[in-house]
Subunit: 312 residues, 2 copies
């Protein structure tokens, strides 16, 4: 089974306007819609779209649980959340202009998770997760979820022997790298920060970090990505598409990447699919829509150059 962990889920409220919003004018909303939010839930959505069985874990608030459940049911996302009483899952407002690219993301902070629920998650992992499972933690933790909490979570996961992927940032990324999880996806700035060497050559940096991470992906935005695995370094060039919004493109990549690994496809195939999905997402205005058909066409345009990792 694949589990995604969203420590700070959201309900995305999408506000569509005609043009870029401005002060001192009436920016009429032409349409609103809702989506689940938080990177882990988006990853679950991609897995479900690929028909890969998965279950979303994480902390949600009791007050608006029906609304979140309704959205998840529409997206065929199975879940087993821990519920915090008397609080609401945060809303993340996304303003999308129909006539320009890029969206404005306005997330609420989210609630503090109780000690009892932090403990309950560890118990849940010990009970559910087996060495054959894959677990992906994606998205930033909520306020009050400390680095120490995150370390206990990683230890508990790694103790089960499962595959652990982490799409997180800042100190949490640093910790995930230090603990040698199976998959991380830093960007160029992040990998240099991880090595505490801002001037490092990118390929050199990847080769150094690849020693401790089984699947290391470095995302370069529209320029594609690098992936280091099993003594090989891959340079992936993404197809050029008309950008509507790159928000959520990373989640599409992660979802498709994990789906490909779960299906035991060859790595070059996995990378092509992930890059195609991510490029398809960029063509859509919201944070999670991509098309499997578009992705299949786009992945034909993905170029992969393979190098030995030990060159330097």
């Amino acid at each position: 089974m694949i589990y995604t962990i969203t420590l700070n889920p959201a309900i995305d409220q999408l506000l569509f306007v005609k043009e870029d919003v401005q002060k001192r004018k009436t920016n009429r909303i032409v349409k609103t819609s809702w989506d689940c939010g938080g990177k882990g839930l988006h990853v679950s959505g991609v897995l479900s779209q690929f028909g890969v069985p998965n279950e979303a874990l994480g902390f949600i608030g009791s007050q608006n649980k029906e609304q979140l459940y309704r959205i998840l049911a529409e997206k065929r996302i199975s879940h087993d959340f821990l519920m915090e009483d008397g609080v609401a899952t945060r809303t993340s407002f996304v303003i999308i202009s129909e006539t320009s690219s890029g969206s404005i993301m306005m997330p609420e902070a989210g609630f503090h998770v109780s000690m009892a629920n932090k403990q309950a998650m560890l118990a849940q992992i010990r009970e559910k997760v087996t060495p054959n499972d894959m677990v992906v933690i994606a998205g930033s933790p909520p306020p009050g979820f400390t680095l120490a909490d995150f370390e206990v979570l990683l230890k508990t996961l790694q103790h089960t022997g499962c595959f652990v992927g982490c799409d997180v940032s800042g100190d949490f990324l640093q910790l995930a790298a230090k603990r040698g999880v199976d998959f991380i996806k830093p960007n160029e700035d992040e990998i240099k920060a991880l090595l505490a060497d801002e001037t490092a050559d990118l390929e050199v940096a990847i080769r150094r970090l690849a020693k401790q991470i089984r699947y290391l992906v470095v995302s370069l935005g529209k320029d594609g990505s690098y992936c280091a695995h099993d003594g090989k370094l891959y340079r992936i060039t993404a197809p050029q598409v008309a950008e509507k919004s790159d928000t959520g493109a990373g989640d599409c990549f992660v979802g498709a990447f994990i789906a490909g690994l779960a299906k035991q496809l060859p790595l070059s195939e996995v990378l092509k699919r992930a890059t195609g999905c991510s490029a398809s997402k960029v063509m859509h205005a919201d944070s999670s829509t991509f098309s499997l058909v578009e992705a299949e066409i786009l992945q034909e345009q993905v170029e992969i150059k393979e190098m030995s990792i030990d060159v330097i």
Copy 2:
């Protein structure tokens, strides 16, 4: 009694952010709050703050009525709304940056009012309104509320013999002016459009329109206003204040103006109070907050020049 009519009320959802929102970054929401929205409800709020008895009329949706009622109770606004089943009162999102001035208003369109409810409003007016009452229609009508509907509404109101004020725009303002209601508040562009003469001298335009409107106020934003009444033209200069947001300043003016008339204060006093309230509102970031104490201080700085209306 004073009645306000809000044809398209809203629940204002205020989203406070640290800095001006930007695409492609995380604009963290630091606080959210709710207010009633729609100009008529803001006018009611001002009347209530002045201790002037009033009742808010209009069309609201059943789905979120409890939330709206809760907000109105907090603001001590009495109401007798007509309810549309199976729809929600629209939300108007207001993005307020803590470190800059001006807000981003993003209103939803609102629901279509049924014929039955349009009729019910006319019946309600015939039953409630007496010649001694004042009625203020403020804010744009909802989708599907036609100019013909508005004309029937005005006729029904005028037939009662009550004072009729209209803070509306576009064709609705044109109609209100044509029907010679007791109070309108166009801005400089609007009064020229009303006279179909873009090149008219402003004072000439006011003198012409004053023949058919008992209390004609022309707002000039931070430059103050004109008021024409009973053969006199007043030029009101507003105090200069540090602007946080001018949204809702007009509603403060209207509320304080109507409150003053209801209390039968001398017109120069009414204009000073209305201008003071409006200036106080400008110093606050949201759409309706002003302070009676601030307004009292500011009204001492308001200057009024009185001229005969028949000079030209």
